[in-house]
Amino acid sequence: MLKLLNINKIFNESTADEKIALDQINLELKVGDFVTVIGSNGAGKSTMLNMVSGALSPDFGQITIGDHDVTKLPEFKRSQFIGRVFQDPMSGTAPTMTIEENLAIAYSRNRKRGLKIGVDKQRKEFFLHSLERLHLNLENRLNAKVGLLSGGERQALSLLMATFTQPSILLLDEHTAALDPSRAELITNLTEKLVKKDNLTTLMVTHNMQQALDLGNRLIMMDKGQIILEVGEVEKKNLTIEILMEEFQRIRGQKFTSDRTLLSS
């Protein structure tokens, strides 16, 4: 479904700040694959996600979604196929618009936008049913402005908006990192449920090792712009945090250094 071929990206090339963000990245996701991505700060996880979404374009390499070569496709065109949830709960929704209006915008993702009323009766019904799945009582607040919702509620809504049009690819960029533990758990469970429901092909970046182990059928570990470890479906079932740390040490010859990762595990 998703293929990254030989992706390279260098920031600030030929200056003192030159940084190799992605170095020969090759990755393939089959339909229904749920891949979790871990790695220390600056490992290139988010950069890789931004390559897929089109927010950044690679210096070299090719990206395909299904049969489409999307390497040169601008972000807004690519997002027909891609659902995204950002780390910042503020990023995924329009705060001055109501819940139903936000949902209507998401609903039009893979349809042509015209002069049709955004929230008609039929759609309202559909939005209501979709919101009920969140169990956050948002279905009774269709006309509330999204800016009034809590971070957790906004992130749940973002997740619903990203998934309910059944995108070819779902990208989750540390989407629970800005939430308190109980809210993060709620979103994690919701993620599992919504992804399973439509069998979505998903790529999730996380700082939380436990989350990376709990969710998904595959796992990759990145460091310094490279994928240093790939764990397949069978091995992932028996994986623990300790094994991951040992693996990292074995490959890199040094301790895994990221306070945030250790603390949040």
């Binding site: 997002s79 995204r84 209006e101 039009s108 936008r113 002069l115």
Partner: protein, 343 residues
Amino acid sequence: MFSAIFGSVEQGFIYAIMALGVYLTFRVLDFPDLTVDGSFVTGAGTAAAMIVLGYHPAIATIVAIVAGFLAGCMTGLLHTKGKINPLLSGILMMIALYSINLRIMGFTVENSVGRPNIPLMNSETLFSQFFKWWGSLGIDESINGFLTSMGIQFVPKTWGTVVVVAILVVIIKLVFDWFLKTEVGLAIRATGDNKKMIRSFSVNTDTLVILGLGLSNALVAFSGALFAQYSKAADIGLGIGMIVIGLASVIIGEAIFGTKTIVRTTLAVIAGAIIYRIVLALALRVEIMDTGDMKLITAIIVIVALILPQYFDKRREKIRKAKRHELRESQTLIKSKEGENLA
């Protein structure tokens, strides 16, 4: 006094169309568009020039609206494709339009290329055509007859102007409200709200910024075309400070009527435009004031409208906090008393 206020209401309705345009860019798209100063005159000049050249006033008005739309799109292109800062894009377009407007009005004279004003004293306008029909209805006579019999001294020359502009504004408001609820309208609103989000839902924000600016300036040009026909003249200096007048209307309206929903906010903007005109008319009646002071008064009105709400918000917050504090104090008092009783 009354005739001055009556005139301000008529003008207020015409300016309300411009204010809706300013609301669309300033608030909905979050784009401070200064093109308005130029595109208002583009509307006035195009309509006046075409009327003088013998076109039907309705066609002249429609062409004026299209001209405003194109001017707005140019500003949008400068910003999105040329990557020029929003304020600067508007200023550049405004200054360019000054020359373009002179040229447009210059079409009416053979030897000169530019022309700073066009009088429409004896020309047919949308208003004069409407009055022919309106006069045959005899409504003015009956209303004014009724008012005089009530002992009211002031009677306006005609009620027709206020009726026709009010109807126009109501229609525009309804279409405007409807448009902001369509799929494209929602996308435009989200573009002003959260560009990152709307791009992730397959919307080309550049196209929508250009479209939004075009529509906004189409409204502004429409307002200009009506104003020229209302005041029976187009002048190159008409647009000076127009953006501030538009902003004043938006801010005054929002401060008084609130912004709870789109429908309410557009109503507030229209009301704001009318209130602004009335306040200005009253201010100009103070003896030491001269018409030349108009822009200064406008600036002061906007400054007051910007600062006062902040002051009220702060006060409200203080009162709210004090109340909550009191409540908490009394609760702890009750609790401690309960504790004593138990002991």
